[in-house]
Amino acid sequence: MSYSAPEENTLGVILGRGRRRESDATRRVIREATPRRASLGTGFIAIGAAVVFGLRAIYGLVWFVGLLPTYPNPVPAAFAWVVLIAVVAAVFITSRVIGDQLPDWMFAIFLVGLAAAVALDLWAIWPLHDIGRNTTAAVTAGMALVVVITLRKTADILVSVGVLGAVLAAAMVLNTNADIDDVAPQITTLAFAVLPAVIGVVIVRGFRRLVQVELDRVLVQSTVSAPRFAVGMMASEELARLDLAAEELLDSVATGRTKLPLSPKTASVAASLATELRLHLIEGRRETWLYHAITESDMLGKSVTLTDKASLAGLLDPQQRDGLLSAAWLLVSDTAKPSETRSVAIAVGPAAASAEVHGNRKITVPVVITTTGVARNRVDPATWDAIRKVGQYSDSTQNSSLRVDIHCLVDNPADN
C-alpha cells in the first residue's frame, strides 16, 4: 500500500486538486437511491402524461377525420399522424423497457419524427391557406413533448417546444391570408401547440422539488431517534478515512518507502492528520441531534441558526424532537413567495428550575424560536400543533415577526 496525500481534509479544507466534498447528504442519498433521473414517482407522472397525450391525440384524430373531405391531398396529413403516433409509441415503450430513461440519440430520433410529422401536416394543408383551422398533427406534436417531459432536462423540452412554436408561427405568417377573422384560430392553435409542454414543465419541476423537499425532511427526521449526543452521518466515514490515511502513511514509513527524516511536506501532512484525528476523536460527540438535523438539511441549513451551548436539545424525547423539527420545517418552508427570505433562530436553554410532574422530577428547558419575515397571521396552523408537542408555549411578535417561547419539560439526566 503506498501513501498518497488526501485531496481534502475532513474539516472541509480542500488541500488542492480535489473535488468539493459532498456535504449535501440529500443529494448523495438521492443519487444512491435513484441512479436514474426519472425515478422516485416521476415514472408514474410519465404514464399520466402519456394518457393526457393519448386523449389529446384522439381529439386531434377526430378533427382530422372531420376535416378529411376538405383536404386537397390527405395522404401527407395521414402520414403525419402515422409518423407521430409511431414515434411517440416507440419512445414511450422503449423508455419504459430500458428503465425510465431516454438517451440523447433516442431523443434526437424522437425530435426528427416530430419534425417530420409537422412538415407532412403543413405540406398537406398548405394549399388551404389557413393553418390555424386545419392543422391537426402539428398541434398534437407539441403535446407529444409532454410524453418525454420526465425523461429529459427542462431546457431540452423548452427549446424543442420553442422551435415548434416558431416554425408554426412562421408558417402561419407566410401561408395564411391576412383576414382579420382568421387571426384568432391561428393564436389559439399556437397556444394549444406550445402551452401544454410549458405547463408540463412547470408540473414536473414542481414535482421534483416536492420530492426533493420531502426527501430532505425524511432524512433529517431520522435524527429524532438519535441518542443524546451523536455523531453526524459523515462522522464515521470521516474517521474511517482519517484512519486509512494514517494507516497508509505509517505503513509507508514502516516499509521504508517514505524516507526518514520526513520531507517537510509529508511532515505537515502528518501534522494535519494528527490534528484532524484528534478533533474528530475528542470533539466528535459534542453535538446534539438538532445540530445534525440542521446541518444535514438543505432546507433548514440555509435559514435556521441554533444556539444550544449546553447541548440541552439532546434531552428532548422523540415526540418533542419531532414537534420542534416539524415546527422549524413549517416556519421555513411555508413561504408564499419563493423570493421571500425567512430565517429562524432556535435558542435552547439555559435549564431552569426543576418541577414535579406525575411523581417524576423534570427540568424545564426553555426553547425560544425567533424569526424574521414570518408574520404571526401567516403561520400555518399545523405549526402550532407541532409546537404544542414540544411543550407549553406563548407566542408574541418581535420586530414584526413571530417569536415563540416554549417551556419544554424533560427528564432530568441526573436521574437516568
Binding site: 414517482g41 408514474f44 394518457v51 389529446r56 382579420i180 384568432a184 438519535a226 494528527a274 460527540r285
Partner: protein, 386 residues
C-alpha cells in the same frame, strides 16, 4: 395536516395558477383582436379579466374554495357579456370564449380533485361552465363542437389533478422507505463511529506516532520509529477490517477490556515508550492504583501528551512523574527542569494542551493545571477522580 399533503396541494395550486393564467392571456388576446365583439362588451370585459387574473394568481397560494367560485363566476360573466352584447361575437370573440371555458376555467379542475366536496364542486363547475358556454354560443357555433372542446379541456385538467394527487403518495412511500434505510444507516454510522472512537488507546498511540512524524521524526532512532509505525499501521488495519485490536505486543498501552486496570503496569509501558524516544521518565510515588478504564484512558493520554511536550519543548532529556492518590482523587505531577515558558506567551492550543489534556480530563471529571516560568522548568498537575 400531513406535510406531504400540504406540498401536494401547493403543487396543484401552482399548476392551476400557471394553467389558468396562460389561457386567460390567450383568451384576452383573442378578444382584443379588432372586431372580436361589441366594443362596449370588450370594455366591460377588461376589468373582469383583470379580476379573473388576480383570482387565478391567488389560487396559486390559497387553498380557499372562494377563489375557485370567484373564477368560475367571473368566467361565466365574461362569456355572457361577450356573447349577449351587441350583434354577438365574431370568430375572434368565439375563440376567446372557448379558450376561457375550455382551458382557463378548466384549470380549476386541478385543485378540485383531492376530496369529495371538491370533486362535487368540480362536477358542478364543469356542468355550469360547459352548459352556459354551449348555450350562449349556440347561435354562433354548433353545440357539438363547443361541448367537445369543453369536455377535452376539463378532462385533461382533471386528469392532471388526479394524476398528481395519486403520484404524490407513491413518491411519498418510496421516500419513506429511503428514510427508513437512512435511519438504519445513521444508526450504523453511529455504531461504527463509536467503535472507532472507542478504540481510543489505539488512536493515542497512532496520534503519538503521527506527532513524531509531524516533526519529521527528528530526535528518534529511525529503526525505533519505523517499528512503531509498523505496529500502529497493523493496529489500524485490524480496526479497518472490523476487529477491535488488543495490542499486547506493541507494549505501549494495556488494552485489556476490564472494568478496572492497574495503573502501574501501564505507566511502565509509557515510560518505555518515551525511553525509546530519548526522554528518561522517572516515576515516584504510588505504583498500584486501580482506575475505571475510561478514566485511565484519559489519564494516560493526558500524561503522555504532557511528556511529549516535555520531550519536544523543554530542551532536557529527563522528566519526573509523581503519582499520588487519596480517597477521591488520583494526581500526577509532571515536572521537568527545562527552559520553561511564560504562560501568557504560549498559546496553549499550540501545545495541544486544551484539546488533548484539558478536554479529555474534563470528560471524566478531572482537571489539569499548568505552572511554568522561563528558566525554571514546567510543572503540570493532572487530577482525575477514582
Amino acid at each position: 395536516m400531513d406535510l406531504i399533503a400540504k406540498e401536494r396541494d401547493r403543487l396543484l395550486q401552482r399548476t392551476a395558477r400557471v394553467f389558468g393564467l396562460s389561457f386567460t392571456v390567450v383568451s384576452l388576446v383573442c378578444l382584443l383582436i379588432p372586431g372580436a365583439a361589441d366594443p362596449v362588451a370588450v370594455l366591460l370585459c377588461l376589468p373582469l379579466y383583470l379580476l379573473l387574473g388576480f383570482c387565478q394568481y391567488r389560487i396559486g397560494s390559497s387553498r380557499s374554495l372562494l377563489w375557485v367560485l370567484a373564477i368560475l363566476a367571473l368566467g361565466v360573466a365574461i362569456t355572457g357579456v361577450i356573447t349577449v352584447a351587441g350583434a354577438g361575437p365574431a370568430q375572434a370573440g368565439i375563440s376567446a370564449v372557448t379558450q376561457l371555458g375550455g382551458a382557463s376555467l378548466a384549470s380549476t379542475a386541478i385543485v378540485l380533485t383531492t376530496d369529495l366536496p371538491r370533486r362535487i364542486l368540480l362536477a358542478a363547475g364543469f356542468l355550469g361552465v360547459a352548459g352556459s358556454t354551449t348555450f350562449l354560443l349556440y347561435p354562433e357555433q354548433a353545440p357539438a363542437r363547443t361541448i367537445a372542446l369543453m369536455v377535452l379541456g376539463w378532462t385533461l385538467s382533471a386528469i392532471v389533478g388526479f394524476w398528481i394527487s395519486a403520484g404524490v403518495p407513491q413518491a411519498a412511500r418510496r421516500i419513506a422507505s429511503i428514510g427508513r434505510a437512512h435511519r438504519a444507516e445513521r444508526q450504523a454510522s453511529e455504531t461504527e463511529a463509536q467503535r472507532r472512537q472507542g478504540a481510543r488507546l489505539l488512536h493515542d498511540t497512532v496520534l503519538a506516532t503521527l506527532t513524531l512524524l509531524a516533526h519529521s521524526g527528528v530526535g528518534v532512532a529511525p529503526a525505533a520509529l519505523r517499528q512503531q509505525a509498523a505496529d500502529d499501521a497493523r493496529l489500524l488495519r485490524q480496526l479497518r477490517l472490523g476487529a477491535t485490536p488488543t495490542p499486547q505486543a506493541s507494549g505501549v498501552y494495556n488494552l485489556e477490556v476490564v472494568e478496572e486496570t492497574v495503573l502501574g503496569t501501564t505507566l511502565e509501558s509509557v515510560k518505555q515508550r518515551f525511553g525509546r524516544m530519548g526522554l528518561e521518565v522517572s516515576w515516584h510515588g504510588t505504583g498500584q492504583v486501580l482506575l475505571p478504564s475510561d478514566v485511565l484512558d484519559a489519564f494516560l493520554l493526558a500524561l503522555a501528551e504532557c511528556l511529549e511536550n516535555v520531550r519536544r519543548h523543554s530542551g532536557v532529556t529527563e522528566a519526573h512523574v509523581t503519582i499520588t492518590d487519596d480517597e477521591t482523587m488520583v494526581r500526577a505531577m509532571i515536572t521537568d527542569s527545562g527552559v520553561g515558558f511564560t504562560l501568557d506567551d504560549v498559546d496553549s492550543a499550540r501545545l495541544g494542551f486544551k484539546e488533548s489534556v484539558v478536554a479529555r480530563l474534563k470528560e471524566v471529571g478531572g482537571k489539569a493545571r499548568l505552572f511554568s516560568a522561563p528558566g525554571s522548568g514546567t510543572t503540570v498537575v493532572l487530577e482525575v477522580p477514582r
